[in-house]
């Protein structure tokens, strides 16, 4: 069995723009794979091609070339959509419906029977923290409430694959945390999550693998842990007063803050750092491979990417 829930191979999508109707590539030769059970983050600056990629996956736009699969079915095969949940970036829902009626409508598309749909709707409304039996229509909801409804409808069919476009958009910090918990819970259940987001901290906290897009192409792709680990560098954290200026001369950096000293050294010199720390009376807290932040990786990738 293919271990990949999503595959895109050499996808190219161009749009005609301006009065000259000149074609511009929104996505160029994009290839990516998402394994079953992973949380995958699609990152990139505005205009990088994230939304177009999602639209190609959902059959909303047709690529000029390339192919792909969703849950083992070719792109465009609607049967894959039975096991798919999608949260659009903004509240693109029928504003004249209440949350219950909206879920009832979307549930009908999945052929859910009434009793199951009713129970599932009530559970999801509870899960995302919306009011029950409210007469408020969706167009009267705040942005945060609409986003919560969006998450509820995306999970209505208990999907195997959830595609989320900016899931934390419009949510306050409490809402963002709740969404994060929902996503981690879905991962626990073995669901595959495809996430497009600008919130690097959110992605860094929950994603297993990422792809960074720039100008329609993937410039970095892989397991997040591997991408953030800098080969050959170790970060040694010590407890104690700031060391003298001339100490740890072999280190790449030495930073002291709040009784902790963080030293980045070549991995083969980690023992030297430990020896010097002992001689200075500093206590070892940890020594581990150096990880850069996703923000550092993102900025470096975008900077180095051909424009």
């Amino acid at each position: 069995m293919d271990e990949r829930a999503v595959t895109l191979t050499n996808i190219k999508k161009t749009y005609r723009i301006g009065a000259s109707r000149k074609r511009k590539a929104a996505v160029e030769d994009l290839t990516l794979d998402v394994r079953y059970g992973d949380i995958f983050g699609l990152l990139g600056p505005n205009g990088a091609g994230k939304t177009t990629t999602l639209k190609v996956m959902l059959g909303l736009v047709y690529p000029q070339s390339g192919e792909g699969t969703l849950l083992g079915k070719k792109l465009g095969d609607r049967s894959a959509h039975r096991k798919l949940g999608f949260l659009p970036e903004q509240s693109y829902f029928y504003g004249f419906l209440t949350a219950e009626k909206g879920l009832a409508l979307y549930g009908r598309f999945f052929g859910m029977d009434k009793a199951l749909l009713k129970k599932r709707s009530a559970d999801l409304i509870e899960l995302v923290g919306l009011p029950h039996n409210s007469h408020l229509t969706l167009d009267k909801y705040s942005k945060g409430m609409q986003q919560r409804f969006g998450i509820a409808q995306a999970l209505l069919n208990d999907p195997e694959l959830v595609i989320l476009d900016e899931p934390s958009s419009g949510l306050d910090p409490v809402g963002q945390k709740e969404v994060r918990d929902i996503l981690l819970d879905l991962k626990e259940q073995g669901k595959t999550i495809f996430l497009s987001s600008h919130m690097l901290s959110e992605v860094e906290n929950i994603c297993d693998s990422v792809s960074i897009l720039s100008a329609g192409s993937s410039v970095v792709e892989g397991k997040l842990a591997d991408l953030l680990t800098v080969e050959g560098l170790t970060r040694v954290t010590l407890k104690g007063p700031p060391p003298p200026e001339k100490s740890f001369v072999f280190a790449h950096s030495v930073q002291s803050d709040d009784g902790l000293v963080a030293i980045e050294v070549d991995s083969r010199e980690a023992y030297l750092a430990l020896d010097e720390a002992r001689s200075l009376g500093l206590e070892l807290v940890s020594a581990q491979p150096y990880h850069r932040s996703l923000e550092d990786l993102f900025l470096a990738s975008i900077k180095e990417a051909p424009q």
Binding site: L58, L60, H81, F86, Y92, L105, R108, F109, F110
Partner: protein, 255 residues
């Protein structure tokens, strides 16, 4: 079919929310406003006049309603992007497109049924006549409106709303005039290639005069079952062709 019905029901609900159904009150007022214009001398003439003018008024309302209900269905959903959330579900574009049309037809049928009742009540109140034959006229108007709606829905898959409205007006007039001067111009009055082309256009467009029954209904003459089936089949054929053309344009469109 389930998806088609679900989408159709959302169209009806949206029409209700936009208060499109209030048009029946407007129609009632318009029909009542006709009452003082009735000739007072002959009860038979009064009934004839009322039936005739009411069906003509229904036709006017029907065409306007068909345009209003259908012109923004697809472009509106594409603009507001509500279409994303429908087509990301296991709903095909064909089901979506057909569902929209069914929803429009149901809305039109509901409104026109009430209009028919209003005409019946008016006839009973003003000239003490019970004329169920008006429903034949209303049915013919419904078929015409269904055709106009199919045209608008098909056209709106690739054109902006104002252009679709303009095209619908043009379509309406051409299809009403085709048996008149257009016949001589298009079929008999030209030569060579132009004659073939204009002839093809002539036969490719429906003749909306087939649905003009106000005169006949005015006289209180019921149509034969054969006649009703003929215009129903005629409308269904042209509506199907228009819907297929519209779907072909919509099928591969980027959203």
């Amino acid at each position: 079919m389930r998806n088609v019905i679900a989408i159709a029901s959302s169209v009806v609900r949206d029409a209700a929310r936009k208060k499109v159904f209030y048009v029946v009150f407007l129609f009632g007022i318009a029909v009542l406003a006709l009452a003082p214009l009735l000739p007072t001398f002959d009860l038979g003439l009064r009934a004839q006049f009322l039936r005739d003018i009411s069906i003509s008024l229904t036709s006017l309302f029907g065409v306007v309603l068909a345009v209003v209900l259908s012109v923004g269905q697809v472009p509106g959903e594409v603009d507001k992007r509500t279409i994303y959330n429908v087509l990301s579900k296991p709903v095909s574009r064909a089901q979506y497109f057909l569902g929209k049309y069914v929803g429009i037809l149901v809305s039109l049928a509901a409104i026109m049924f009430v209009m028919g009742i209003e005409i019946l009540i008016l006839l009973g109140a003003k000239v003490h006549v019970f004329s169920p034959v008006v429903f034949e006229g209303v049915f013919a108007v419904f078929l015409e409106a269904a055709l106009i709606a199919a045209f608008c829905l098909a056209f709106s898959t690739f054109a902006a709303a104002p252009i679709t409205v303009f095209a619908a007006i043009l379509f309406y007039f051409i299809c009403h005039m085709k048996t008149g001067f257009l016949y001589t111009r298009m079929v008999t009055g030209t030569h060579g290639f132009l004659k073939v082309l204009s002839g093809a256009v002539y036969y490719a467009i429906p003749n909306l005069e087939n649905f003009s029954t106000s005169n006949q209904v005015g006289y209180g003459r019921a149509a034969s079952l054969h006649g009703l089936l003929r215009i129903t089949g005629y409308a269904a054929l042209f509506a199907a062709v228009l819907m297929i053309l519209g779907f072909l344009a919509f099928r591969r469109r980027d959203l």
